[in-house]
């Protein structure tokens, strides 16, 4: 029988997990609003399983939240049980008084950092949060899944529910470094990997020569703009049986799945007869979907969202397909012209010398804003800033050419595998 999950080299059997669930069930049953604050898979798994079973509300806090933030959430949301780190023997928890004025409300609350401002708290039902697990076909039962995102976020939860409902095994890589990912993927012969374009690119770059590749049945790309380049690179390197790219967010759920190995999505997806509805308003994609969040809670004020949710993602129609171009609020104003960092990165990544790059805005006391780029070069190649600027001048209008160029050893990515542009 396959283990429930693997953390590094430690295998946790279904039996061991079930024993833990039986032991902690009575504690969850006497509470209503549960907060989990742990980076450890066991604490997160037990909380998810038991809250769904008891119909409790679960507040999944990212591991990096500070104690003051946790205290604020406890006070604001009538938390009566806190779950902390644990192992297969014991989970640390703290019981608070249950307020009987509070009704049991089965829900899961996920924090999103978004691109700007305060973290938002997004409320989902247990149905909407796990909707993509229903799309896991017969062929993908009892497979090995890589946990490539933070389990506390929407993307990580999709892997959790899809894997557990198909009797699969989740492979966690606690070190989170790319050499460690490569080793775990190969060693456990992972079948299903989902990641951002940046995640895939860094994974393939880090893959040691001679390390056996896994038999990938499903490769999924999403979370950032998916270009034809990255689809081709993943397809050639891993040769997965299925290669799809998806468009999803914590707010709208997983709403676009494309499996023709082409970037963008067919314009025919925008059809009022479909269950998931799309419209484009001022180049921004808006979605109305049954798998959307139930509500959005900004810290301090509660707001119930509209049927249509603006994604903030810019799209462009070309030859019968819509292509994602980047975030509306991610554009950089250079001398009055708006520049999309994603577009410039796409051009730079076509240079054989460029392994990875991130384009961002750098504030300047002299000119307001500079377009900046951090570039990781491939080891054996060299490139001067002067030469790069010259070559870019034939590919891009001058305002789109990064003015401040740095060569760096690595770029920083978030726990969800996205580039951090600051």
């Amino acid at each position: 029988m396959m283990p429930e999950f693997i953390i590094g080299d430690e295998k946790v059997s279904r039996q061991a997990l079930n024993q833990l669930l039986d032991r902690y069930l009575p504690i969850f049953e006497r509470h209503r609003n549960i907060l989990v604050h742990s980076g450890q898979p066991i604490s997160q798994n037990v909380s998810l399983h038991l809250c769904e079973k008891t119909g409790n509300a679960l507040f999944l806090c990212p591991a990096y939240f500070k104690p003051a933030q946790i205290d604020e959430i406890i006070a604001q949301h009538h938390i009566d049980l806190c779950i902390y780190d644990g192992d297969i023997e014991h989970i640390q928890y703290h019981e608070l008084e249950v307020s009987h004025a509070v009704q049991r409300d089965p829900a899961i609350y996920v924090f999103t950092t978004g691109t700007t401002g305060m973290p938002k708290l997004i409320k989902h039902s247990w149905e909407t949060i796990s909707v993509s697990s229903r799309a896991v076909g017969k062929r993908l039962q009892e497979k090995m899944w890589l946990m490539s995102y933070a389990t506390t976020g929407y993307a990580g939860l999709q892997i959790f529910f899809s894997a557990t409902r198909s009797n699969g095994t989740i492979v966690y890589v606690p070190q989170g470094s790319f050499p460690a990912y490569c080793e775990s993927i190969s060693k456990h012969d992972v079948n299903i990997i989902s990641g951002t374009p940046t995640f895939w690119r860094l994974l393939i770059n880090a893959w040691p020569q001679g390390l056996p590749k896994p038999r990938l049945e499903q490769a999924t790309i999403g979370g950032e703009v998916v270009t034809q380049d990255i689809l081709d690179v993943v397809d050639q390197f891993f040769q997965p049986i299925n290669l799809t790219h998806i468009y999803a967010s914590t707010e709208v759920g997983t709403v676009i799945i494309v499996s023709d190995k082409k970037a963008g999505f067919p314009a025919s997806y925008i059809d009022p007869e479909r269950v998931i509805k799309f419209r484009v308003v001022e180049d921004v994609l808006e979605v109305s979907s049954p798998s959307r969040m139930k509500s959005q809670v900004r810290m301090g004020n509660f707001e119930v969202s509209d049927v249509w949710i603006s994604t903030g993602d810019l799209v462009q129609l070309r030859d019968g397909r819509y292509f994602f171009c980047g975030r509306r609020d991610g554009r950089v104003n250079i001398g009055g012209s708006k520049v999309l960092p994603e577009e410039v990165e796409g051009v730079l990544l076509r240079f054989e010398q460029v392994k990875e790059c991130v384009v961002y805005e750098k504030k300047s006391p002299i000119v307001g804003s500079l377009l900046a780029v951090d570039i990781v070069l491939t080891r054996e190649k060299s490139l001067s800033i002067e030469k790069l600027k010259k070559e870019l001048s034939v590919l891009l209008p001058s305002y789109k050419i990064p003015q401040y160029i740095r060569f760096v050893k690595e770029i920083v990515i978030s726990e969800n595998g996205k580039k951090i542009r600051k």
Binding site: P365, K389, Q403, Y404
Partner: protein, 79 residues
């Protein structure tokens, strides 16, 4: 201390000139950056960003400070 800042500023100016395909010119403390080096305000902005990175100091944090020469710019990082 003062001398090292001047040398650092000169080094960074030459670096940015090279990045922009400008031929190097001899630099002195009194060299007027915009008038004598061929750098424009954008080039100067990049010089300032690079200096901030090297020194971890941002003399313009509270607003713009006027400077013309290499000595004047270097002095901002000595403060």
């Amino acid at each position: 201390m003062k001398n090292t800042s001047v040398e650092m500023v000169k080094e960074v100016i030459l670096e940015v000139m090279a990045e922009n395909g400008l031929n190097p010119v001899p630099l002195e403390g009194e060299t007027h950056i915009l008038r004598d080096t061929g750098l424009d305000s954008l080039g100067l902005a990049i010089v300032v960003v690079k200096l901030e990175e090297k020194t971890n100091k941002d003399p313009f944090e509270a607003g713009f400070v006027t400077f013309n020469t290499i000595d004047e710019l270097a002095a901002l990082y000595d403060a």
